[in-house]
Every structure is written in structure tokens, then in C-alpha cells.
């Protein structure tokens, strides 16, 4: 068994190495983005009317007079010490801004992916089992709609119907105006903070506000998840081991869930992780429609005014999120498929 152990260690070491290389590449990329953007970082700080003297002072302060490789090492040092600079737009350290906006997006994305996978996977399986029958057609139309309706439009319609019309859910923002500032910020995940503080009114207000945007995002990613699940499942249904299970006397439902489903889990993990990553990048449109103070809005508004410290950090974070999701799905592969162990 020592051989197995050694092989495991090599695999882990190899994986750490590839993560390191990816991260380094990512840092080079963000650095280059910071240099080649057609905005003048100095101008952005000092403004249009600054004197030449002030301009050059800041120019030196930012280290722009030094060679590029030295600038890159300064950037590396800053990143390692978690110093991402100050956002020009908000005047606050970028890290502090991110700590505020990212949890809002994670909360929304997590809620949305639960809805998306929770709806998409069963529908995909159902469509595959009833291929070419009415269930399949209905599900395909439903998922095509989720795919093709622009989300800012569905967002506005849904707000009109469920908030303004029926009053079933909260409107824009993360909670009702009334509660803002009531809950101490610990994790910045509103649902968690309010539950920790025992403020159940705030908790339900937050739930009321997240449910509509999360469901809409979930619906649109469920469209993709449904289609992929359906095609994964169709591949499995035609396999011989499914016949074996049927021959053993298992019902169709048992065959699907006990045998076929286990074999699509690895593929499902991959696409759900990708869909989750896309949601974590921030859904700018839905965040705008619902006035959701999230990552997507933060990134977009900073990009538009050329606030480079913030933009570079955001790009870096998106990269790290995808690396993390990849590691997570690799781990799940190992759990779900004995052949990869």
C-alpha cells in the first residue's frame, strides 16, 4: 500500500504545482491588464486639472518610473500581503470594498445554483427518461425559454408581477430599507448574520428579497443544466449495465437513480461548477435591475471609470474562484468515480 500512498502524494504535489503555475499566470495577466488599459492611472487619481509637479509626484509614488519587471515584483509583493491598493471611486481599500460586495454575490449565486441544479437536474433526467414524449417536449420548451429570455427583461417583469402586483416578495436591495444597519456585520452574508444575531425579521426580509433574483438566475442556469443532464442521461440509458439492472428486476425508477445517475454525477459536477462560477462572476444585469450591491456591479462600474486597482483585483478574484471550483470538482471526481482514485 506504500506505493498507493506515494502515488497519492505525487498526485497531490502535482496538483499543488499546477495550481501555483495557474495562479502565477493569472497574476501576470492581471498585471498586464493593468498596464495596457488605455487609461492613465495617474490622471485618474490627480484629476484633469492637476499641475505637472503633482502629476509627476504621484507618477513616482505609483512606481511607474521603474522598469516593468520591478513593477511586477512590487505588484506580487502587494498581492501576497493582501494590499490591493485603494479604489479611486470609493476612496476605500479595494479589499474592504470586496469584503462588502462579494458576500452579497456569493449569497445570490449560491441560492441561484441551488435553484438551478434543484430544478435542472430532475427535469433533465425526466426529459431523458421520456425522450420524444410530451414530457420531454414540455421540458425542452421550458428550458429553451430560460435560455433565450433576456434576464433584465424577465427581472423587470417578475418585479412588476410578484412585487408590485401580487406583493409576494420583497423588491430591490438585499433587505427592506427599514432594517438596514440593524444587524451587526460579521460575515457580510446577510442571511447568516441575521440568523446569528437572532434577528428573524431581518432574516425573513432578506429571504424575501433574495428569492426573486435568485430564482430568475437559477431558472436561466437551470436551462443549461437541464439540457446537459438530459444528454448525459441519454448516453447512460443506452448502456448495457442499465439492461443488467433491469434484468435483475429493478424498476425503471430504481435503475435510473441507483445506477444511471451515479454515472452522470462526475459530468454534472463539472457543469454545475461552471454554472456556479459564471454566477459568482456577478450577474451585472440582475444586480442592476434588483439594485443588488454585488460583485458584478462593483466590477462593472469600476471598469467603466478605469479604476484599475479595483478592476485588477476583481479579475484576480474571478480567476481564483474558478481555480477553487476546479479543485473542488477534482476532489468530487475522486469521490464519485472509483476509476479516478
Amino acid at each position: 500500500m506504500t506505493f498507493d500512498r506515494r502515488r497519492q502524494l505525487t498526485t497531490i504535489a502535482g496538483q499543488c504545482g499546477s495550481i501555483f503555475v495557474t495562479l502565477f499566470g493569472l497574476l501576470i495577466l492581471t498585471f498586464v491588464i493593468g498596464r495596457i488599459m488605455p487609461t492613465d492611472p495617474v490622471r485618474a487619481i490627480v484629476g484633469e486639472d492637476a499641475t505637472r509637479e503633482v502629476y509627476e509626484n504621484v507618477y513616482r509614488q505609483l512606481g511607474l518610473d521603474r522598469p516593468v519587471w520591478e513593477q511586477f515584483f512590487m505588484y506580487l509583493r502587494d498581492v501576497v500581503t493582501l494590499d490591493f491598493g485603494t479604489s479611486i471611486r470609493t476612496g476605500q481599500p479595494v479589499l474592504q470594498d470586496i469584503i462588502h460586495v462579494l458576500p452579497a454575490t456569493i449569497e445570490l449565486a449560491t441560492f441561484a445554483i441551488i435553484v438551478g441544479a434543484g430544478v435542472g437536474i430532475p427535469l433533465g433526467v425526466l426529459a431523458a427518461v421520456h425522450k420524444d414524449r410530451w414530457q420531454d417536449h414540455v421540458i425542452r420548451v421550458f428550458s429553451l425559454m430560460g435560455h433565450s429570455m433576456p434576464i433584465f427583461w424577465t427581472g423587470m417583469i417578475a418585479l412588476l408581477v410578484f412585487y408590485a402586483g401580487l406583493g409576494w416578495v420583497g423588491g430591490s436591495g438585499r433587505m427592506s430599507q427599514f432594517y438596514i444597519g440593524l444587524v451587526p456585520e460579521r460575515t457580510n452574508f446577510l442571511l447568516i448574520d441575521s440568523a446569528l444575531a437572532g434577528e428573524w425579521d431581518v432574516f425573513f426580509s432578506a429571504l424575501n428579497h433574495i428569492i426573486l433574483p435568485a430564482s430568475l438566475l437559477g431558472y436561466s442556469s437551470s436551462a443549461y443544466i437541464t439540457r446537459m443532464t438530459r444528454s448525459f442521461m441519454l448516453d447512460q440509458i443506452n448502456q448495457e449495465y442499465i439492461t443488467t439492472a433491469r434484468v435483475k428486476g429493478l424498476s425503471q425508477r430504481q435503475t435510473i437513480w441507483r445506477h444511471a445517475f451515479g454515472n452522470i454525477r462526475v459530468q454534472l459536477v463539472t457543469i454545475v461548477a461552471l454554472a456556479y462560477g459564471a454566477l459568482l462572476e456577478g450577474a451585472v444585469l440582475i444586480e442592476t435591475v434588483f439594485a443588488w450591491p454585488g460583485f458584478g456591479q462593483y466590477l462593472t462600474s469600476n471598469l467603466l471609470i478605469g479604476d484599475m486597482n479595483a478592476v485588477m483585483t476583481c479579475v484576480l478574484i474571478v480567476g481564483v474562484i474558478f481555480i477553487a471550483l476546479n479543485i473542488l470538482s477534482d476532489l468530487l471526481y475522486r469521490i464519485f468515480d472509483p476509476r479516478t482514485r
Binding site: Y241, T244, V247, K248, G249, L250, D337, P338
Partner: protein
């Protein structure tokens, strides 16, 4: 012959979207004996096996009689079939590489066959499965129980398949090309195990194959199928006295060890075979 286990009369089956039926007017009865069904690829022999298990719900199936013991296979509901499949009749599939679920342990898959039909604890099913793995001559069955399908060889995989399908003491086993995917060296060994168990337990066996010699050695009777029809039914030891030109053609097309190396004869197909049937 005692009362037949299986009685089939004029079974026809057409796959959805196909213009021609895959099986037409197939009739036979089976007692506690071993019946071979032989034919080339696409002759409908596997389809007959799957039709008997009622595994082709989309296909258009018709027959005058299709009866297994007291079960009317034509009219049995799916719920009734669930009690029959795997318990009283089962089927051994061709290639263990594909017919075992790749992500579940071999032993669990064997035990599942038992647990589906018998109320018992996990430990009882496990013990039963291990005993059966032992019966198919797997050494160290406890260890093999824990293996995943990719960790066993083809021969062992097929023995696991046999264990899984005989565990519930079925009356009828359909073996669909049980050894075609195996190495020649283990083929006979696996067949011997299957044959011993089938005789010992008095199971009715339908052996689907394209290998005339194999069927000659391991079956009592042989049906020869061509283009979805039974063209000839023979006693296995009388195979050489076959009268149908198709059967004679198949026999003539076999290579012989030590024979001269001239080109093997190619079947001369007569359209009249599609309509006639001879018995001997």
C-alpha cells in the same frame, strides 16, 4: 419432456421506426434443457431474448402464445414482470466490461440482485453473494466483493455476472453470447461453470450464440435463425445432418484446424429462405 418452462408461438417483433420486423413467427418450447439459438449478426437472436424478458417496451410485439411457467408474458403488467425478472428468469449479457456498473463494487451489484427480491439484511445479502461468488469458482470472494469492475479481468467479470444472475435460483436463464467477449483461454472455463450450475440446479437455458461448435457442445437442441425467422430446429448432436441450405452453408463456412487453407465458402443466399421453414 416434462411440462415446458417456456412456450413461445409465432413471436414477431418490430422496432419502432423500422420497416421490417426484426423477429417473425418464432415458435419454440423449452423444458429443463439447454436450447441454443444460432444465427449471424442481425438475425434477431438477441432480440428474441430481450423480448422474452419484456425489455423492449417501445417495440411492437405480437405472439399467439408467450408463456413462462404460469406467467403470461404477453399480458403481464410491468409490476408483475418486476417480480419475474431477476427472480425467476434472468439473463447473462455479453461483455462484463459494459454490463457491470463501473462505479459500484462488484459484490454490491451481485448482492443487489438478491436484495431486490428477498427481504433481508445487508449482511445476509452479502453472505449470499459471497457464497455465490465462491460457487462460480472465484478464489477469495471476500476480496473480489470489494473490487470495482475495472479491477477484474473479463473472465472474472463474466463469472461475477453469472453469480449475479443465478443468485436468486431462477428457472430460466437466457445467456446472450455469454463468452463472445472473452479470451479463448477462459471461454471454456466460464462455459463449464455456467453449464455445471445450470445442470445442477435444473435450470432451463437459452443460449444465444453465433458459435456453432459451442452450441453443439453445450446445448441439447438448436434453433437456427435467419433474417428474424427460425429456419431449422435440430438436436445438437444431429447438427451435421442439417437439411436447410442456410445451416449447411454455415457449417461449411467454418474453418478447420489442420485443413487446407483454401478460401472458405461464402453463403449463397436464397430469397426463398425468407418464407420457408423446415424441421427435422
Amino acid at each position: 419432456m416434462q411440462t415446458p418452462i417456456l412456450e413461445v408461438s409465432n413471436l414477431s417483433l418490430r422496432y419502432p421506426g423500422a420497416s421490417e420486423p426484426a423477429v417473425r413467427d418464432v415458435s419454440f418450447t423449452l423444458g429443463r434443457e439447454r436450447l441454443g439459438i444460432v444465427g449471424e449478426s442481425g438475425s434477431g437472436k438477441s432480440t428474441v431474448g430481450r423480448a422474452l424478458m419484456r425489455l423492449l417496451p417501445q417495440a411492437d410485439l405480437s405472439a399467439d402464445v408467450m408463456r413462462f411457467e404460469d406467467v403470461d408474458l404477453l399480458r403481464a403488467s410491468e409490476r408483475q414482470m418486476l417480480k419475474v425478472r431477476g427472480a425467476r428468469m434472468s439473463m447473462i449479457l455479453q461483455d462484463p466490461k459494459f454490463s457491470l456498473n463501473p462505479i459500484r463494487r462488484c459484490g454490491d451489484q451481485v448482492a443487489e440482485a438478491y436484495r431486490t427480491h428477498v427481504r433481508c439484511t445487508k449482511a445476509e445479502a452479502r453472505a449470499k453473494a459471497i457464497a455465490m461468488l465462491d460457487a462460480v469458482q472465484i478464489r477469495d470472494p471476500e476480496r473480489v466483493f470489494e473490487f470495482y469492475p475495472h479491477e477484474v479481468s473479463g473472465g472474472m467479470g463474466q463469472r461475477i455476472m453469472i453469480a449475479m444472475m443465478l443468485l436468486t435460483d431462477p428457472q430460466l436463464v437466457i445467456a446472450d453470447e455469454p463468452t463472445s467477449a472473452l479470451d479463448v483461454t477462459v471461454r471454456l472455463q466460464v462455459l463449464k461453470i455456467l453449464d455445471d450450475l445450470v445442470r445442477e440446479r435444473g435450470i432451463g437455458l437459452v443460449m444465444i450464440s453465433h458459435d456453432l461448435n459451442l452450441v453443439r457442445n453445450f446445448c441439447d437442441r438448436v434453433l437456427i435463425m435467419y433474417a428474424g425467422r427460425v429456419v431449422e430446429t435440430l438436436q445438437a448432436d444431429a447438427l451435421d445432418q442439417a437439411r436447410h441450405p442456410y445451416t449447411r452453408g454455415l457449417l461449411a463456412a467454418q474453418p478447420r484446424i489442420g485443413g487446407d487453407r483454401t478460401a472458405l465458402p461464402v453463403l449463397d443466399r436464397d430469397p426463398a429462405w425468407l418464407t420457408s421453414e423446415t424441421h427435422s
